[in-house]
Subunit: 317 residues, 2 copies
Amino acid sequence: MFIGVDLGGTSIKVGVVSLDGKILYQNSKPTYAGRDFQLIIRDMIEQIEDAIDCVNIGIDEIRSIGIGVPGIAEAHTGKVIYCTNLSWYNIPLGEEISRHFGKPVYVENDATVAALAEYVAGSTKGIKNSVFLTIGTGIGSGIIINHKIYSGSHSAGSEFGHMIIGENFYNCNCGANGCFETLASATALIRYTRKRIEEGYKDTNILRMANGKIEDIDAKIIFDAAKAGDSLGVEAVDRMIKYLSIGIVNIMNSLDPDRVVIGGGVSKAGDYFIQQVDDAVRKLVLCKEIQYGDIVLAQLGNEAGIIGAAFIGENII
Amino acid sequence: MFIGVDLGGTSIKVGVVSLDGKILYQNSKPTYAGRDFQLIIRDMIEQIEDAIDCVNIGIDEIRSIGIGVPGIAEAHTGKVIYCTNLSWYNIPLGEEISRHFGKPVYVENDATVAALAEYVAGSTKGIKNSVFLTIGTGIGSGIIINHKIYSGSHSAGSEFGHMIIGENFYNCNCGANGCFETLASATALIRYTRKRIEEGYKDTNILRMANGKIEDIDAKIIFDAAKAGDSLGVEAVDRMIKYLSIGIVNIMNSLDPDRVVIGGGVSKAGDYFIQQVDDAVRKLVLCKEIQYGDIVLAQLGNEAGIIGAAFIGENII
């Protein structure tokens, strides 16, 4: 059995996971981000002890502990290089947990963990090469190459959200302009729509659908407006599809995976949206004669964080 | 020993290569591109036979034959999916050569072959993860992951030249707009400079340096002008550096290799040019605290095509 930990800005979730990827037990506590890291680690240890007790096993039956974090971490040493949400920089997370339990501890980026969860128990089960994109407020990503996690030589890879693919009217938090996540995330969609309304775009129901409050315009409203034929809704969604397609084409032309998986909030826009992205991608790939990988929706939900984390140790090079 | 074949649009080069990456003998013949593929294959077989004879060995001492082609090929089956220069589509190159010699034959893209040559005997010797860019009329690329060639699930990967990174005033041959190679190759540099002159840019010596013939403006003239402080030369080279940096940042943020290698004609612009690209890259990478891979010039010259091809069989998954 494995322990999988999903450490987020809001909650710490811990699960006991079977060798075939089933969650046997899980618990959750608020993270209270901003606390001293030692306090967060103490809570995490308590949750792991609770989980082991509750499934009535001993620690010797645990093969390894894996932790997904919203940031960049060295998988093998378990050092968290940084987590903006938690204000963590160079935190020896893996070392502390490993010292307590006497077990190997692996730490990875949460989007990479979600990619692995899909590989273990979801949309890319058993598939050799895949790229996972989680599209919400930003764009996170994970790469599976030759059945293993790939995070690069300095644990800084698989950050497709920061691939520069054009020019944008606002800069990314990372300081660059034109990052994929500033052009094709839910945030990108919302900011573009608000900007157009602020510029004086009138022939749209979107502001009304948000009860006249520009700050209440969200991705669902914009997608609903687009489906109903609202001209600004269509314009904003078409722009998002254009850039999402460019990002995926860049993945096809560089990594040429068997499959690209879309998860995160935007995946709720559903099959119609994915179909339009797929059509646009096929027109832009380098070699039209080649049947590139397919584009599918993620299959796992909230449990991906625990399942993927549990399997890090089994799937790193 | 291995046989390495560098099949180009102009010449077919064949070499016998030792296990430690030395060329023991090589010969070369014109390709006469456009001929029936059987005639090209016949010449290639003759050249291989000649090479084996000339080093006084038997065919049993050859472990495998590798061939680099200017297009997309399936490494294991040896099928060339397409080579624009040769007008080849779905040519069973590997099968024909393998049937003749009774040896395993592997076929790969020429930029991937050059990446492998650098790994075997050049700038990335023994390095786990690297990306090679050959920048000339276009941008070719090769990926080494975990000490092996990586070309994706359909042999269509490592085409970073067709990564879309912005908007451009002309479309790429592939049909897309904003491909890396249309913004950062020698061709991109030349086309941009010519366009600016055609638009009426006067305060420049570049046209004079080409003896008043706009069609004679080449990359060397533009680089020389930039070094001498010519304002259009500086503008055009700065634009190229901007886009070359964006392309490399995208490689850092996605694959995070140990090293990025620059080869091809543009690498002759030298250390000063690379230093400027390097500086620009460091400002754009996602995590400024991380020491990403370095950017270096390729070490091998014309012999890369033979050396790299020879080692394909030893370095594919």
